[in-house]
Amino acid sequence: MKLISEKRELTSRLFRISAPLISILVALFVAGFLLMAAGVNPLLAYLEIFRESLGSVYGLSETLVKTTPLIFASLGVSLAFRMQIWNIGAEGQIYMGACGATAVALFSGIENHSLMITAMFLAAFLFGGLWGGVAGVLRARWQVNEVIVTLLMNYIAILGVDYLIYGPWKDPKGFNFPLTAQFSEAARLSEYFDTRFHSGFFLALFCALLMYLFMERTVWGYEIKVIGSNPKAARYAGMRTGLAIFAVLFLSGAVAGIAGFSEVAGLQHRLQHGLSPGYGYTAIIIAWLAKRSAFGVVIVSFLMGVLLVGGDSLQLSWQLPIAFVYAFQGLILFFLLASDFFIHNRLRLIRGGQHA
């Protein structure tokens, strides 16, 4: 007897749609053992996650605060995914976006609120875009693998920002902490309900809508899809694939860069060490989970926000390390990839006898 896998020709629609949900459930199940090993009742822990992240105005606002940068970064990553370009550098692009926005906030001297916010936004867009664009040029002109370039450039961006806030940009009145001076009122997004919830969230939703229109309705979106589906055919049809690769990586980085803008202008009001706790990497998981849809990105980002906020509270109630949340994210991605396999293949048990 042996177990073999074979290609499935037919996959039911139901299975295809429910596969991500099933993989999350299986991940919850397996993570339950991790929790038990830490001496925590998994059911209570999961209940706590949902209660803390959704059960109060404060919890919900915190969830949306975490959802916001995730939406931006995931939109950026998924845009590149559509063209079969793998942007692993959203984390670095977030830092660069934040860096650009901070430079404007600290040194431009603009006093008008809308002008200041617009300038910060554009700076973040540009900085993030250029950071992604470098990988774009390298890939388009010299076929340098964009995965490696974007990944390594994360370190450059994060350490570069560290240099600034430990050095030239350090707040002289900041008791030597690695952070810049606080932004002026003009450089802050509006906050609501006495919480940390800020208007960056609405910008993120608007951005998702734009991304949807861009991909599904415009001529450029069509071009990106053709190139993603078959780059040779695109070249043969006269499309300028090199330019498109650069443009997409630029745009991908730029949108991720907006996350940096939204974080410093809406939440932290300064540039500081550890500005993003890995949003850029979580974005890769989200983009994968959401498959191709901009709206999917919004929903999955929200779920991840729930998990992050709930995970924080686990730290407080049970002294669980935050690593648990990342382990859980890893499990989800793992089972999701596995579910992809099961969507396309099925296992069959073969009884021995007629052949070995």
């Binding site: 074979e6 001529v219 053709v226 993603g228 055919a233 049809a237």
Partner: protein, 502 residues
């Protein structure tokens, strides 16, 4: 004669498609058995069942009278069923010997090179094949690469050899050589399952022919029971072959002139070497040659996918070799590529989206920066009707279509802008007779309206039937130019092999 392999009532369905309905046939020891059928008749599916890639829903396969289960290509090979695919499965950087070694089961990690070399050499000698075992595969001609595939099966002692359109890439002389070997193999008791669209070959080599139609095995006929017209009518059935009249080219207006054109390939070798050619308005110029003698480079330079290294291209007298004028002119050249699946379509996108790939940015399908989805849909249904494309349900990705229908999608797209010049590479390769006739009709219709066609093909019958003039390419040069009315297959064959120049 006893049966080696028996296939009984095989059925195989895919979502929404019955690929094989009921297929029954038997292959005797020591016979060459030909499978004949239109595209979509189920030949490829049946091959894939026999090589263990697909598992039938129903039915039975008997080998030596014993029911067998084929769960993977490995199983099939273990039972002595081997296949030479249309697309070779060779590691091109490795040598011939290494490639053959890969096919052998149970080679120990530290093997005796000499023993295995002798084993391979013995097979080569047995068939008087002249192959350099130490040459890397990429250096060899397509014909030689096909020999490697065949030898891989022979060293494994396969009892049933499946050959999927093996002559598509060969010169007439090479084909004749292959047939000699196949006949010899048959006489030694091997069974051969042969797939071809070329009626002449089928008539020449088959001991028995099984006609497939719409997933059913219609009938198996032994030699003597069939002739060409009987087979054709069985295969096509009641479908009408379109009739057309071919106009004689007037040779008045020059459409395209190529002077001393050279182009290099990635290894710096000449793909096109001092190539000269004239194309007139309304002319169908056939280009014959063994695959890999510069035909593809010619098409690519003309359509702007490749740069010329020297020489000139004149379009209606204007030099368009390397100027901006070229890109605008190129826009007016339609191109049916050689490899339709890998460069002709975006497989995950819909038929409608694929039909506008070349002119997606034109005003007809665009409003400002947005696509005009309604116009794209209208265009799709118009083209689907006009070219009789079996496109399946709305929004069906083009990769679900059969080869013939994918080709129709490409042709519909390429001809939609009323091009002045059509460059068609092997436009009917792998198509069934009905679809091929349709492609021919489109080319002739175009010629009637003044379109000039460069028809690159390996099918001499097709070239002889359509062309006003046939030029022959060898190693990137034009080695001959013949009148299809006055030439013979042998003459063209000799030119193709580079042995004579006319």
């Amino acid at each position: 004669m006893s049966n080696l392999l028996q296939i009984k009532n095989i059925r195989k369905t895919f979502p929404g498609v019955v690929a094989l309905d009921t297929i029954s046939l038997s292959i005797a020891r020591g016979e060459i058995h030909t499978l004949l059928g239109e595209n979509g008749a189920g030949k490829s599916t049946l091959m894939n069942v026999l090589t263990g890639l697909y598992r039938p829903d129903r039915g039975e396969i008997l080998l030596d009278g014993v029911s067998i289960q084929l769960n993977s290509p490995r199983d099939s090979l273990a039972m002595g069923i081997g296949m030479v695919h249309q697309h070779f499965m060779l590691v091109s950087a490795h040598t011939v010997f290494e490639n053959i070694l890969l096919a052998l089961e149970g080679v120990p990690n530290f093997y005796s090179r000499r023993t295995y070399r002798q084993k391979v050499q013995k097979v080569l000698d047995a068939f008087e094949l002249d192959l350099d075992l130490d040459s890397p595969v990429w250096k060899l001609s397509i014909g030689a690469q096909q020999w490697i595939e065949l030898i891989k099966l022979l060293v494994r002692d396969c009892r049933l050899l499946i050959l999927d359109e093996p002559t598509a890439v060969l010169t007439p002389q090479e084909s004749a050589r292959l047939f000699q070997v196949l006949t010899r193999l048959r006489d030694q008791g091997k069974s051969i399952l042969f797939i071809s669209h070329k009626m002449r070959e089928v008539m020449e080599i088959s001991d028995r022919v099984t006609v497939l139609k719409k997933g059913r095995s219609l009938v198996s006929l032994s030699r003597g029971e069939y002739d060409e017209s009987r087979l054709a009518s069985l295969m096509i059935g009641e479908d009408q072959i379109p009739m057309w009249i071919k106009p004689a080219c007037k040779y008045e207006q020059l459409a395209l002139e190529i002077k001393n054109l050279s182009a290099r390939n990635d290894r710096g070798l000449a793909d096109l070497d001092n190539f000269n050619m004239k194309l007139y308005r309304g002319q169908i110029l056939g280009v014959a040659g063994v695959a890999g003698n510069g035909q593809k480079a010619l098409a690519e330079v003309l359509t702007g996918l490749k740069e010329a290294s020297s020489g000139r291209i004149l379009a209606e007298g204007r030099d368009i070799t390397n100027s901006t004028a070229r890109s605008s002119y190129i826009a007016g050249i339609a191109h049916i590529p050689e490899d339709r699946k890998s460069i002709g379509i975006a497989p995950d996108m819909t038929v409608g989206d694929n039909l506008i790939m070349k002119n997606f940015a034109s005003r007809a399908f665009r409003r400002w920066i947005f696509q005009d989805r309604a116009a794209i849909r209208r265009n799709a249904s118009a083209k689907i009707n006009e070219f009789a494309i079996k496109a399946g349900p709305d929004g069906n990705p083009v990769r679900y279509l059969s080869g013939g229908n994918i080709q129709k999608v490409i042709i519909a797209r390429e001809l939609s802008e009323k091009p002045a010049v059509l460059v068609a590479l092997y436009p009917t390769r792998g198509l069934d007779i009905g679809s091929a006739e349709y492609v021919h009709k489109v080319i002739i219709d175009g010629a009637n309206q003044g379109m000039s066609t460069i028809l690159i093909s390996e099918d001499l019958d097709e070239l002889l039937k359509l062309s006003d003039q046939i030029v022959v390419m060898f190693r990137g040069r034009l080695v001959g130019c013949v009148d299809p009315q006055a030439t013979t297959r042998e003459e063209i064959g000799l030119l193709m092999s580079g042995e004579v120049q006319s």
